[in-house]
Every structure is written in C-alpha cells, then in structure tokens.
C-alpha cells in the first residue's frame, strides 16, 4: 500500500485558519486527555501528524474530526501551545470543502472577500426579487404581509429553495459517506443501515456525545442554537401557512407561537453567549475566530432580531415598517441558508450525525462478519 504525500497540506490548511500546529512536539497529551477519544477512534494528535506529513487522503477518510466537539481540554493542557482543538476545527472546515464538489465551500472558507461578496450578492438578489415579485397591492391600512407577498407564493419559493439546498447538501453528504466508508461503502448490506437508523435520529436530536465533554455549558449553548434554529426553519419552510398570518393572531398558548418564542429565546441566548465568548476569548473554543464563525453568528442574530421586530410591528399594526423589515429579514435569512447550509458551517449539522451513524453501521457490520471485515481493513 502506498501513501500519497501532498506537501502543500500544511500551507493549504493555513488558508483555512491553521496557526499553531507546527509547534507540536508529539507528546500525545492531547489524545490522552480528550474525554471523547477512544482506542478505536483517537484524536487529535493524529491529525496534527497527518497535516505535518501531508497525508491528505488519510484526513479525507477520517471520521474523527466529526467526533470532536471542541471542548478545548486538549488546547488547555497542550504543553506547547499548539492548540490541537483549533487543528480539529480547521480540519472540519477543510473536510467541508473537500466534501463539497462545487468548490464553493473552499472559496467561502479561504477568502473573506469572497464570503462577503457572495452574501451581499444573494442578499441583493433577494431584495430585488421581493420588490419585483409581489402583488403590487399592499394593504396600507393594516400590516398584512400576505397582501403583498401571499404565503402560498412564498411557500412555493421556500420549497424550491429547500429542494436546491437539499440536493446540494445531500450530494455532499453522499461524498462524505463515500470517503468515510471507503471500501465498505457498497459492501455493507442495507439491513445494517436500517438497524442503526435510530442512532442517526438520536444523535441528530440530542447531540449527546457533546455532553461527554468536560465543559457541559458548550453542549447546552450548542443545543439551544441548534434546536432553536431547526424549529424555526421548520416553521418558515414547512409550516409557513400557519406561521405567516395577518388578521387573526393566535392565542399566547398556541403551539406555533410557543415554538416561535422558544426558538427566538434559544437562538438569542446561544448566539449572544457565543459572541461575547468569542469577543473575550473566554475559553479555548472561542479563542480563534475564523471570519465564517463571525459571519454565521452575525447573520443568525440579525435574522432573529429582524424577526422579532416584525413580530412587534405586526402586533402594533404598522404596515410600512412591517413590509420594510420583512425585506431586510429575508435579505439576511436567505443568504445565510443558501450559502451556509451546503457550503459552510451549517453543513456540520448533517456531517456529525451522519458520520456517527456510519461508524455504528460499520461497527455492527464488522462485529457480525469478522473475517470479511478484516480482509476489507487489510485492503
């Protein structure tokens, strides 16, 4: 078996934000201190090694970056200040770009200018779109979004967007599946995938592995942002006809309203905590902030804030302010979805549970077919 060496990996990863990996003297302290590292899947030193040796293929086939939740124990205890937690974070960005067949993710991560341009262009297109495509008969007496942008039309646009996003994300997830499963990709019978399906759902919903980290606050903050975001995503994309309402306001105990309030609180709390942490560099995961980290937090918080304002202008029945804020709201929310979900930070929402799921499938398969599995590993 030959090992391919790509001498540019270190340099390449520096473009993704890698800073201190060169300082590592390979004592192995990080791997042994990590509460999530196991004999079967150990990290993070392995990746510092791969990066230093230019073993791009090994990185590409590794599931471990998605098993790390960046609690920062490794970086805190690193005797060299080599920040192995940051190396894992950068590796995740790198993998996101390698999974993405369009090449868009790579541009997004390596060029701040490109990132800002892309978001501005999409925002502008959304703004123009909303100004061009509307009924032209706004209700100036009452704040009625449906008079200008009927929910049926928005719903159609939503579903169209969801289809495109799903296609892009799922095609990248498929590539992730191919790399992680390697030779086993098509060997494992479908039955195992079915058997372990509950793991996929369990990890998607609870992210319980994150809770094994020493700093459990991070798990809570992350869970708040994730559930808040997901629930509001469902409201605006799938349940829009019950969400975008004008005349009759639901009672305060109505599920749609409750979910909306939960999502608002969860996202605002989570993003504010993260923004303050990143500004103060209060703990290792907040020490090194990549432009995409900021962009993600800022867009999410702006979306939520404009959403809150619309909620109030609608309750106050101010038509112009409502319509104006709606355009701004969409100009922030849509670029965030279109660009971040398949190409950037949001994609980890899919990669993490999928990789965990694949590991379970692989483990079950290898356990039940030891002979065959060992042949596959040897190959």
């Amino acid at each position: 078996m030959s090992v391919k060496v790509d001498p540019n990996v270190m340099k390449d990863l520096e473009a993704f934000g890698l800073k201190d990996a060169k300082k590592c003297y390979h004592c192995g302290n990080c791997t042994a201190i990590c509460p999530l590292s196991t004999p079967e899947n150990q990290f993070p030193r392995k990746f510092v090694r791969y990066i230093q040796l230019g073993q791009k293929d090994k990185i590409l086939q590794s599931p471990e970056p998605w098993l790390c939740y960046y609690c920062g124990d490794c970086s805190l205890k690193c005797p060299r200040g080599a920040d192995p937690g940051e190396t894992m974070m950068v590796t995740r960005r790198y993998l996101t770009s390698l999974y993405d067949w369009t090449g868009f993710a790579r541009k997004f991560y390596t060029s701040e200018r490109f990132e800002i341009m892309a978001i501005s262009i999409v925002a502008l297109l959304v703004g123009i779109g909303l100004l061009v495509f509307n009924t032209g008969k706004p209700d100036w007496q009452h704040a009625s979004l449906n008079s200008l942008w009927p929910k049926e039309n928005i719903e159609l646009a939503d579903l169209g967007m969801a289809a495109v996003l799903s296609f892009l994300l799922l095609s990248n997830v498929f590539r992730c599946f191919r790399f992680v499963m390697g030779d086993l990709a098509y060997k494992v019978p479908f039955k195992y995938y079915m058997d372990q399906a509950k793991e996929l759902i369990l990890h998607t919903v609870t992210q319980k592995r994150f809770n094994e980290c020493t700093d459990r606050k991070q798990w809570l903050v992350h869970l708040l942002i994730m559930t808040g975001y997901s629930s509001v995503f469902l409201l605006v994309v799938v349940f829009l006809r019950w969400f975008q309402r004008d005349q009759e306001i639901y009672s305060i105990w109505h599920p749609v309203r409750l979910v909306g309030y939960y999502a608002t609180f969860a996202i605002m709390y989570g993003t504010t905590y993260a923004i303050i942490g990143r500004l103060r560099k209060s703990k290792p995961p907040y020490k090194n902030s990549h432009p995409t980290d900021w962009m993600f937090l800022i867009l999410l918080q702006l979306t939520t804030m404009t959403g809150i304002f619309i909620h109030f202008t609608r309750l106050l029945d101010w038509p112009f302010a409502t319509y104006f804020l709606y355009v701004i709201h969409m100009m922030v929310a849509i670029p965030m979805l279109v660009l971040e979900v398949p190409f950037a930070k949001w994609a980890h929402l899919a990669y993490r549970p999928v990789v965990l799921y694949l590991l379970k499938v692989k483990a079950q398969y290898q356990q039940e077919q030891p002979a065959e599995a060992s042949v596959a590993v040897a190959a």
């Binding site: 003297y25 390979h26 004592c27 192995g28 302290n29 990080c30 791997t31 042994a32 201190i33 590292s37 196991t38 004999p39 150990q42 030193r45 392995k46 090694r49 805190l76 205890k77 690193c78 005797p79 060299r80 200040g81």
Partner: protein
C-alpha cells in the same frame, strides 16, 4: 576597575555548587563567608540516595568537602541564614545577613537527650514530609554542622522547658533571637539552587490526593538507607512492595503551562531510580513514559544499559491523566503510544513523577538588581561585575556540573578581586 576594599568572598547557598565555590576560594587564600538557609550544608545532594555519575552515596562526596571546610580557618559558616540585602559594587559590597535562631548553641554534642525528652513531632522536611520527626532534631544522620535544631513551634510550646532541662551540656538557649549582621565583601557568589517543581500543580496527576503518586525526589528518600522506610521502596498507601512502577518524564517540564524548559537531569534520574527498584525487586515491572530521552554524552551508556533490562519498558507518550482505583489505591494511566498512534490505559501500583528544577531565584530573587532569563534563572554566571551565579541558580545542572560551576564561579570571584 574598582579597587577592592576587602578580599573576602560571600558564598550564598551551601549546596554542591556553593560548597565547591567556598572551599576553592578559601583554599586559594580568601576569607569566605558561606551562608545557608537550612540548618545543615549539602543541599539537595544530601537528600539523594545515590548520585551521578558514579552512583556513590552522597555522604561519600559530601564528607570530603565537609572535612576540607572544617580544617580551613578561612571559612565562616552561617546556617539558618538568609542574605537580605546587597548593595555597592565590585570589590566593595555591603551585605546584610539575617541569622535565624537555632535555639541550640555550639555546646551541643549531638547526644540526642533533647530529642528523647521531646514528644512533639513535625513533618520531616528532609524526607519531604513522608515521615515525622521530633521537634528537637538532628536534620539528618550526617548533618554538618553536627548540631541539633529546635523547631520554633516547640520553643513557643509548653514542652520547651522540659526539653531544655534534658540537655546535660546547657546547649539549649530558648531566648535566642533572630539577628542581622552587616558585612563588607569583595565578591559574591550566588548559588541558592533549586526546588522540585510543585507536583500538586499538575492537576491531572492527582499528586497529594492519590497516595501512590510520588515525585522523583521522594523516590530518592524512599530508596535511601536513612529515609522514611530505611531504604525499602514501599508504596505509601499500604507499605506494600510495588510490582509495577511507572515513571512519568517531563512531569511539568517542557510545558508552557508549568516549567517551559528541560531540566536536563530528570531522564537520568529516572533511569537511575529504575535501577534502585530492580536491585530490590528483581521481578518488578517498570515502565518509563517519555517524550524524548535526553541522555547525552557519556550518560548514553547508562541509558543503553538500562534499556537492555527486559523488565524495564520504554513507552513513548506523555501521560495525560491518572485515575485511582479506590479499592486498591492502584493507578490507571491514560496515555497515547505515539509510535503506534494508539490510546492506552495502563495500570501501575506506584507512579513516580519526574518533576523538574525550579530555580529558587524565581521565588526569592537576589536582593539586588540583576538580569534573569524567562524562567527565573540568573541570566549569566557574570551576573554583574563582582557578582557571580553558579550551579542551578544559573542553569539546571547535575552534581558534577554543579561542582565545576562552583569552582568556575570561585575563580571568577577571585579574578574580580585581584586583577588590575
């Protein structure tokens, strides 16, 4: 150059390096004042079981030096003393020295009567607190000067009178007070040495919580015939002979969170200590966890010899975490084997942390202005004109380097006084 007003030399620190400097300067004809903080001379070397390179017991080498001191009328020794200020310049230093009370005068013959009369016990500092000692005590068997000490707590307590009356030579003086002496010195040699890095700061190793996690300096005392176990290496929790022993190298060394530098002696210290264990327990299994073994020059032969021992395993990886099994007090070490990229949990009955050397100047600097390096060592032997640093005050060093360094500093001090 300044004119020397006196040819006297002050040597601060009575460890290996300071002793060497004091003796060499005195034998070259200079009047020497040797100041030592402890009640005895010999420093860290006196606390070893065996020392490099010949693996002799330290009393052997120290005794020769003590004899040279004793017979030389040019040396004046202050024990339990600290230099509190230094001012002036090359050839003309004004020095104040604080002398702490020993409560025992020169009439002491070392008869042990005071200790017999005393019931109060204190942690034995010579054995790093691993056993107790009477509060009226001889610091160790071959202490020089051979004179007892009274702990201040005993002097203040109710037993003081009884202990004083037990002395047949009227050697105990309970009214002894701290005093300060002012001296004029021509040159100064600073050799206050080192202390073992505080292993309690290595919070993932459980030192201080897990009784069977000890440090390398404690291991020296366990192996020493005059140590807390009379030379039997027994684990602290239950006094059992350990069957599996782990040495953790770079415990707090080469680590930005602790001592960022390499102390250069801990590798060989652990190799040496592994031979202590092998001599006592031929079946014991030893694992040495290391990042790199730094056995340079002649010392590599020693490394090679130890490596041939089938019961001593070298494991490349820094132990990250130690956990204790509550029932047996055995320890479990979590570590990556960096040669195979595999994660292990390895049990051991006794763990020895190879902690490094923290310069005493990092906590008690020389009481005058001079330059230090990032870690608190004095930056150069010629710290200032007429003021010299030697031994572990200047750089981490073994015993033989400390002797050489002390001699070199004595020579520099003499040159600063006599050259014109």
């Amino acid at each position: 150059m300044a004119k020397a007003v006196t040819q006297s030399i002050l040597v601060v620190g009575g460890g290996m390096s300071g002793l060497s400097a004091a003796i060499e300067a005195a034998e070259a004809g200079h009047e020497v004042y040797l100041v030592e903080k402890n009640p005895y001379l010999g420093g860290r070397v006196a606390q070893l079981h065996k020392y490099f390179p010949k693996l002799c017991p330290p009393y052997c080498g120290l005794e020769i030096n003590f004899r040279r001191l004793k017979n030389n009328p040019k040396v004046r020794i202050f024990t339990l003393a600290e230099v509190t200020s230094i001012s002036g310049s090359e050839g003309d230093w004004d020095v104040s020295i604080k002398l702490n009370p020993r409560y025992v005068n020169e009439k002491c013959t070392g008869c042990n009567k005071c200790s017999e009369a005393c019931t109060m016990e204190i942690d034995n500092p010579f054995n790093y607190g691993m056993d107790k000692i009477k509060a009226a005590y001889l610091p160790h068997d071959m202490a020089f000067p051979m004179r007892y000490v009274l702990d201040p707590a005993l002097v203040k307590g109710s037993e003081a009178k009884k202990v004083k009356e037990a002395c047949p030579y009227d050697a105990i003086d309970l009214d002894m007070q701290a005093q300060t002496v002012q001296l004029k010195m021509g040159a100064v040699v600073w050799a206050t040495g080192w202390k073992p890095y505080d292993a309690a700061k290595l919070d993932t190793y459980g030192f201080g919580t897990y009784p069977n996690v000890i440090t390398n300096v404690m291991m020296e005392r366990l192996a020493a015939y005059n140590g807390p176990t009379q030379g039997k290496i027994l684990r602290p929790s239950d006094g059992k002979a350990p069957e599996t022993i782990a040495f953790i190298q770079c415990a707090g060394s080469r680590d930005e969170n602790h001592l960022p530098f390499c102390s250069s002696i801990c590798c060989l210290a652990s190799l040496k200590q592994s031979t202590y264990i092998r001599e006592q327990y031929p079946d014991a299994k030893i694992t040495i966890f290391f990042i790199d073994i730094r056995a340079t020059d002649r010392l590599e032969d020693f490394y090679r010899k130890v490596k041939e021992d089938p019961n001593i395993q070298f494991f490349k990886g820094k132990v990250a975490k130690i956990e204790q099994d509550a029932a047996t007090s055995n320890l479990i070490l979590r570590v990556e084997d960096t040669t195979t990229m595999s994660l292990h949990e390895i049990p051991a009955e006794l763990v020895v942390l190879a902690t490094g050397m923290q310069p005493n100047t990092s906590e008690s600097p020389v009481p005058t202005s001079l330059a230090y390096d990032d870690y608190g060592f004095v930056a150069a032997m010629a710290a200032r004109p007429g003021l010299f640093a030697s031994g572990c005050t200047r750089t981490p060093a073994g015993v033989s380097e400390s002797v050489q360094d002390g001699t070199a500093a004595a020579l520099k001090a003499i040159q600063s006084l006599v050259r014109r």
